[in-house]
């Protein structure tokens, strides 16, 4: 039976790599996001690479009325329906400092929008007792730091939400996996400061597939970031608060 992936944020560089990889494995897709022209191209690409179905659907994390058509379409599909969340936005911290009202948008994009969607689809997944949830967070959510703590706080919120969702859906056999990438060479980071231990969208996609196969709860990618963040989390707050990185 084919698995259909609902991809939230189908224009994301990381999403694209994941879509390609899973298309070659024969998965179907509901590709959801804001730039419909771009998503149409990704859908065509997915079909040519082996996806039995790839449909473009409008989704805006800030417009919850876009959710219902996707939920309806999902309900009409037979077989396992899975969800992968790639939505997120990372404006510069300085821009947020100058305009605190931006915080609501960042939190909606990276946390509350996707969380609302997942909460709405959860009963269907429970009933079917099948499907998987992949939620892309970030190492930035593991500890708040000077350069991006509003983005980090949204990711932390999302990670905590996913942990609760895992607790809930695990009882029905639905696997929920949190993905915490370190820096990835994508549109989001292009032209920004040089990042250490950076990886590519293809590696993240491969790590997600491996994590799913092993039914992992939380993965870091590149894997080295599990260790790095263990160290970062262990730094006592009195010292951490004086650090700049």
């Amino acid at each position: 039976m084919t698995e259909t992936w609902i991809i939230l944020g189908a224009t994301s560089s990381i999403a694209r790599a994941f879509i390609r990889q899973e298309a070659a494995n024969g998965s179907g897709f509901l590709l959801c996001g804001r730039d419909m022209d771009d998503i149409a191209a990704t859908a065509a690409d997915a079909r040519l690479r082996g996806a039995p179905m790839a449909e473009a659907m409008a989704f805006d994390a800030r417009q919850p009325d876009t959710f219902a058509p996707i939920l309806d379409r999902a309900a009409s599909l037979s077989g396992a329906v899975s969800v992968a969340v790639f939505v997120g936005s990372m404006p510069e911290q300085a821009a947020i400092d100058a305009d605190p009202a931006m915080i609501a948008g960042v939190v909606t994009d990276s946390f509350t929008g996707p969380a609302q969607f997942l909460t709405a689809i959860a009963p269907m997944m429970e009933t079917r007792g099948a499907g998987r949830v992949v939620g892309v967070g970030s190492v930035a959510g593991d500890r708040g730091r000077l350069g991006n703590y509003v983005y980090g706080a949204s990711k932390a919120g999302f990670a905590t939400y996913l942990s609760g969702l895992r607790n809930r859906l695990g009882r029905s056999g639905v696997h929920v996996m949190t993905v915490k990438p370190g820096p990835v060479d994508t549109a989001m980071t292009w032209g920004g400061p040089k990042q250490p231990l950076s990886t590519t969208p293809e590696v993240v996609a491969r790590d997600i597939a491996r994590g799913l196969a092993k039914r992992r709860n939380v993965i870091y990618t590149a894997g080295i970031w599990r260790l790095v963040m263990a160290v970062v989390r262990a730094i006592p707050e009195p010292i951490f608060k004086k650090m700049t990185f």
């Binding site: 730039d35 065509a44 690409d45 292009w190």
Partner: protein
């Protein structure tokens, strides 16, 4: 679009320059863009460089948009790599009609250089198998077809007419995913030419031992291939050159030993083998970053084509190369047909020779001498490979240069698309 300052190098790594680089991931980001587009920088010299300016890296725009299964028309974004397309298409019964010797070349780069493959004698150049190009001219995207005045200026046009965002390729049917390859030793120059002339295979290429002299001058291996549906031999692992190699890695004794071994690999009576398509079309791609074998200073490739009557000029070149002791293992001889699709396309009916040299003073002066021989033989050198020629040298080689200049000035009057090679060879300056 966001821009990032980066030092970029051509594939030969002898020419480098710093530019602001954008790497759009969707075509809408290109609206209004006016900077030269680049692909995977598999051109050896400075075609994909723009020192002090901007370039747009197209490699993330690499989606397959439509395959018409009945006709074999494929619409694809310009950053798609030829090798990946081949791998995707062969199981579906198709292949790109023309493929250069590296699968990393993008569709945009193949159009802008009007590349040729091992089947040039029969199939012609890449641009001859295009149905449509989507081009951003003056900030706006529009489709152009063979009747458009910009068509022949865009194909082989070094990116100077605009940014190619997508294209429709006319594929060829492929009955399988492998190649049936006949390999035979060739003992010397005359035999090499005779075999190239008489070969009726779809894909034909001659590997030359550029260190051989005297009676063995021009010896090598002739490879003739046909698309096949025979099953695959088990795949080997791909290798990577981890660091810049020390200077001796390609010194002349090493090259001589390598070439002798390469020659002896094929039994005296020849052999027929089944190969993976990628191994036949892109033999060097298995060794990632092999350009680092030449060390930090990098290397040059000399490639020229001469008309049939001038084939002896190539023999003279080969003699000079062998005597110099500077050649690398990679020398290729091919028969070319007349097929070309653009005003500045490289191919012409005749024979083409391509040889790599380490970037040293002696090699640079040898290449200058080879270029003069090519001019004298009414031949031309290839912009995708060149990094050393001068403006005066190339003028005589490209008779349609003035027409091209007129088309390009109309499309890009502010010269926003100029690159290092265009400035070095003053390609856009009227004589």
């Amino acid at each position: 679009m966001r821009w990032k300052e980066m030092e970029l190098a051509g594939w030969g790594r002898a020419l480098k320059s710093t530019a602001a680089v954008a790497r759009p991931e969707r075509r809408s980001a290109l609206a209004g863009a006016a900077a030269p587009a680049i692909g995977n920088r598999r051109s050896y010299g400075d075609a994909a460089l723009n020192g002090g300016g901007k370039v747009i890296d197209m490699t993330r725009l690499d989606r397959v948009l439509e395959l018409e299964a009945a006709t074999g028309l494929l619409r694809v974004e310009a950053g798609a790599r030829i090798g990946e397309l081949a791998q995707l298409l062969a199981p579906r019964g198709w292949l790109p009609a023309v493929m250069p010797g590296t699968g990393f070349a993008t569709v945009g780069g193949c159009i802008a250089m009007d590349v040729h493959g091992k089947n040039h004698h029969g199939a012609g150049s890449f641009g001859m198998h295009l149905a449509e190009i989507e081009l951003i001219v003056g900030g706006e995207a529009r489709p152009i077809g063979p009747d458009d005045p910009l068509w022949r200026a865009t194909i082989g046009g070094l990116g100077q007419t605009g940014i190619i965002t997508a294209a429709t390729l006319r594929l060829i049917p492929a009955k399988g995913r492998t190649m049936r390859v006949r390999e035979q030793r060739v003992e010397g120059w005359d035999e090499h030419i005779a075999l190239l002339d008489s070969s009726d295979a779809s894909y034909t290429v001659g590997w030359i031992d550029a260190t051989a002299t005297g009676a063995r001058l021009g010896r090598g291996i002739l490879e003739e291939g046909e698309i096949s549906d025979a099953s695959l031999p088990p795949a080997g692992r791909s290798r990577k050159v981890p660091l810049d190699a020390p200077g001796f890695a390609l010194s002349s004794p090493v090259v001589r030993v390598f070439n002798a071994a390469y020659y002896a690999r094929v039994p005296a009576q020849g052999r027929t083998v089944t190969r993976a398509q990628a191994d036949f079309f892109f033999p060097l791609d298995r060794i990632h970053d092999w350009n680092r074998l030449y060390g930090k200073r990098g290397f040059h490739q000399f490639q020229c084509v001469v008309p049939p009557a001038q084939k002896d000029a190539l023999r003279d070149m080969l003699r000079a190369i062998a005597q110099s002791g500077l050649a690398s293992p990679l020398a290729v001889l091919k028969r070319m047909g007349p097929g070309r699709a653009g005003m500045l396309s490289f191919p012409m009916e005749g024979y083409t020779l391509a040889v790599d040299f380490p970037n040293r003073a002696a090699a640079r002066s040898l290449i200058a001498a080879l270029e003069d021989l090519a001019i004298a033989a009414e031949g031309r050198i290839y912009f995708a490979k060149d990094s050393l020629a001068g403006a005066a040298q190339v003028r005589a080689m490209y008779p349609e240069l003035a027409d091209w200049q007129a088309a390009v000035s109309a499309a890009d009057p502010d010269r926003a698309l100029e690159t290092d090679i265009v400035r070095r060879l003053r390609l856009r300056d009227p004589a």
